[in-house]
Amino acid sequence: MTSRLLLRNFFHAPLTEPAPPVDPAALAELAARVNAASRARLGRTLSIREVDAGSCNGCELEIHALGNVLYDLERFGLRFVASPRHADVLMVTGPVTKNMRQALERTYRATPDPKWVVAVGDCGRDGGCFAGSPACVGGVSAVLPVDLHIPGCPPTPVALLGGLLALLETVSG
């Protein structure tokens, strides 16, 4: 049974979906933020460090899905890295809880320039349904300069890909 599975996987065509169209709203938001110098430095590849700053874990599940065989993020030159010191992009979810604020700021400071911040989900935009909570700061932009928002609760993998491809298009010219 095992050998049948391995054989099928070996001869099977890739399962990956075609790339979604680049999100025009994201392109417009990014246009003003990326300069030619950083374009030249990065080339067509971006390393992403994900930071959960108070999410319900819904966004993380969909960000995880970007790595499955159907979305396969790495074919675009995008990859998730284990340390902010290796990252070009911080991808931040959640309404930024007071208990995560310091860790988020330190992660940002540990990320080398040039760097971009992508706020994911409705919570990341303005706190979402947790806005106004005494335990939350409310939105990533209250703590860090945000270059791109990807809305949704949670955004689908296709929406996440559309936003990230817009970022890639912009920074790599």
């Binding site: 095992t2 599940l61 284990a82 959640g94 809880t97 349904c129 909570s133």
Partner: protein, 466 residues
């Protein structure tokens, strides 16, 4: 309310703590609001009950002093409601951060500490793990949680029933259906509301799809932590098929906001039912190959067998829910005990094993996938017709519910005021009684096996931190 509730004096309160310690009663939850402490219990035959302890001075006799699983809940009561547990062995804050945190001491020759988190290397939730190791061997793990504390209790107090439902569905995103169901059932219990039969069955369908998606994700992720990526790829593909079917049937990949007090939002079309049937057929065709691959790969089993053993005694003491309890011999499932419809009309088994290691927690998930497939087939075949929502009656009162999420039993309690708004709501994640057991399970294992152990527990940070 269907659950018996009593106002008790200090003597009866303490007696309940003693019976918990003796194992005559099981702890469902312990929570507070200014001037009242609440205790939810279940006896081994499955009869639940609530105890209310009015305390004008915001002090109550500690349950944690007698029964350790209550300790973190008591620390939280002080952080969130200002209630003091008198005689508690641990008075450090828990969800409230800000002051320097004194970790427990671990002393001895050749020990060193490894601090990990709150920002981890993977795409996971934040929490801090303080390992004390002797060489490669972990001699103590101490968790520090609360980083994703969003203040859900405070946001719920005074919210409309609908707004609180939105929040309940976002306590832990991976269990959004189970949380929405637990909250909805507690509200319906409080108001004496009747839910149309079709809605009851559709709720179960959504709940079982959620269980499938999470179990596939977990089985793949455990194998991935042993660097066996083909299982991860295969299970990730299956998980994606479930989420796409969920999106086609319920309009949302995670099925957020589908279960609401009074029924469900969005009916299952004939086409949707067909899609579910195809999904079941697809999983039945593909999943056995992956199970076979897991079972016949010696290098993978070498990592999971006898790693991170949780004793049956600890699982029983902490009333550990879900696969954590069932992999350590605890035969409990809220769908069966105390039970809720439509599961009383469905045939399913609750798998248990005694081994308590990572491999056992994977196998329980594999068997639960098979049970969920059988349940979904029964639900789709017997789905009753009729409406899917009934307006809630205007009423006030207190209600409680216990619902089996993929991770274990979720307890919900709510009090609706005369104005029809939520006065107080308490939601207790299964992780409250699983996180402390992870500390025990890792003891004596090597540091490199922690990711495997952690993933096999897959406790919720957000659900715990509220």
């Amino acid at each position: 309310m269907n659950w018996p509730a009593l106002n008790v004096d200090p003597r009866a309160w303490t007696e309940a703590g003693e019976r918990l310690a003796a194992g005559d009663l099981l702890l469902l939850s312990l929570w507070g609001e200014p001037r009242v402490a609440h205790l939810a219990l279940i006896d081994p035959s499955g009869k639940p009950r609530l105890l209310h302890f009015p305390c004008a001075d915001n002090r109550f006799p500690s349950i944690g002093r007698l029964h350790a699983p209550a300790i973190r809940l008591e620390r939280t009561m002080r952080d969130l409601a200002g209630l003091d547990a008198e005689g508690s062995p641990d008075t450090r804050p828990w969800l409230r951060h800000g002051a320097p945190y004194p970790f427990l001491a671990a002393e001895g020759e050749s020990l060193h500490q490894i601090p990990v988190g709150p920002v981890h290397a993977g795409i996971i939730e934040p929490g801090h793990f303080r390992f004390t190791a002797n060489g490669e061997t972990v001699v103590r793990l101490e968790e520090r949680l609360g980083y994703v504390h969003k203040g859900i209790d405070a946001l719920m107090a005074g919210a409309s029933i609908e707004r609180a439902a939105t929040l309940a569905g976002r306590v832990s995103g991976d269990s959004t259906v189970a949380y929405a169901l637990a909250y909805a059932r507690a509200v319906e219990d409080a108001l004496g509301a009747q839910v149309p039969p079709r809605a009851v069955w559709l709720r179960a369908l959504a709940g079982e799809l959620e269980r499938l998606a999470n179990h596939f994700g977990d089985i793949g992720a455990v194998c991935n932590d042993a660097a066996f990526s083909i299982m991860h790829a295969g299970c990730g593909w299956l998980r994606e098929q479930v989420l796409r079917a969920a999106s086609a049937c319920f309009g949302h990949r995670l099925m957020m906001d589908c279960v609401v007090p009074g029924g469900v939002r969005g009916d299952l079309s004939a086409q949707g039912a067909q899609q579910v049937a195809s999904l079941i057929a697809l999983i039945r065709q593909r999943f056995p190959e992956l199970v076979d691959l897991y079972d016949n790969t010696a290098s993978l089993k070498d990592r999971t067998v006898s790693t991170g053993i949780l004793s049956t005694a600890l699982a029983r003491q902490y009333a550990a829910g879900g696969y954590v309890g069932r992999a350590s011999g605890r035969d409990f499932d809220a769908r069966r005990t105390p039970g809720y419809p439509p599961y009383d009309e469905l045939r399913f088994e609750v798998p248990t094993v005694q081994a308590g290691d990572v491999n056992a927690r994977v196998w329980i998930r594999i068997q639960e996938v098979e049970q969920s497939l059988a349940l979904i087939a029964q639900i789709v075949a017997r789905l009753p017709g009729g409406p899917i929502f009934a307006a809630l009656p205007a009423a006030q009162g207190e209600g409680a519910a216990l619902v089996e999420g993929f991770r274990g039993d979720i307890f919900a309690w709510v009090r609706i005021g005369a104005d029809g708004r939520v006065e107080r709501c308490h939601l207790r994640d299964p992780s409250w009684f699983q996180w402390p057991l992870l500390e025990a399970a890792i003891e004596g294992n090597i540091v490199a096996d922690f990711p495997l152990c952690n993933k096999s527990f897959n406790c919720s940070y957000s659900g715990h931190d509220l």
